[in-house]
Symmetry: C3
């Protein structure tokens, strides 16, 4: 038995939990905060048989992989134009930090 602890972005945690549950994995969600950015994030605890660890990490990768997302931010009008011009900017989102711990003993009562 291994315990997978994954720190993921709040925006990805809902979809990640759905995918894990759909694949018959159990998970427990803990609300957490990043030390550097001080933003809320999610720490997920997934207890799983050792041979399934790779599968769980693959699911985390598919949902949480750092990716570029394009946000259109309105650029304030310049000169006489009174219309906001949408302007695309790229921001890196997602990402997951994964720790796998060995479990000495597992029991459900």
């Amino acid at each position: 038995m291994k315990l997978v602890l994954a720190v993921v972005q709040d925006d990805d945690s809902g979809e990640l939990i759905e995918r894990l549950v759909k694949n018959k994995y159990s998970a427990t969600k803990l609300a957490s905060t990043g030390g550097f950015l001080k933003e809320g994030n999610t720490t997920l605890m997934v207890g799983v048989d050792a041979e399934k660890v790779k599968d769980v990490i693959d699911i985390i990768k598919e949902v949480c992989r750092s990716r570029k997302q394009t946000f259109t931010t309105p650029i304030p009008p310049t000169g006489s134009a009174s219309v906001f011009i949408p302007y695309p900017i790229d921001v890196m989102v997602g990402g997951a930090t994964i720790f796998v711990l060995d479990v000495d003993h597992f029991e459900k009562v």
Copy 2:
């Protein structure tokens, strides 16, 4: 030193902590959420000497063992009767998921 992580129902966590404290164990409580039912539950962290792990698990079993509880739900009146009839239904409550992790190094400062 071992670290016992137990995911238990919110309703059982108060009594469980009291029983652990009465038996001179220290515990730290983390609010958590179940991945499947999306209901609040409690993740308890108990650092304890290796030879006491079995005792801690026995206390968890006594307080949190899955058990049938009978709830009386009012059945809406039928026909001309205008009185709600209490009707007993059995629901499984309790339960605990327990992970025991090995602790490399323990220190209080």
Copy 3:
């Protein structure tokens, strides 16, 4: 890779996180509650290379070491005096409970 779990007082957690971040460590903060005093405290998760564990524990010691703090509590006036007399009392604050766990596998995605 090791995972340092440190249960510290809420009042010390802000400064502790700043010191860790300044020393290029990453940390994740979990809100927690003490089993005995039922007061809020902070559980900090710091994943770090094995040879840096001692440095992280030294930083925790410097910020969180149990120490005497003098509080002046107003003593109600006695007799005809109508002025509160400040009276110093010593209280032990701080302290940290530290668990170091071995990490089987670490990955960022």
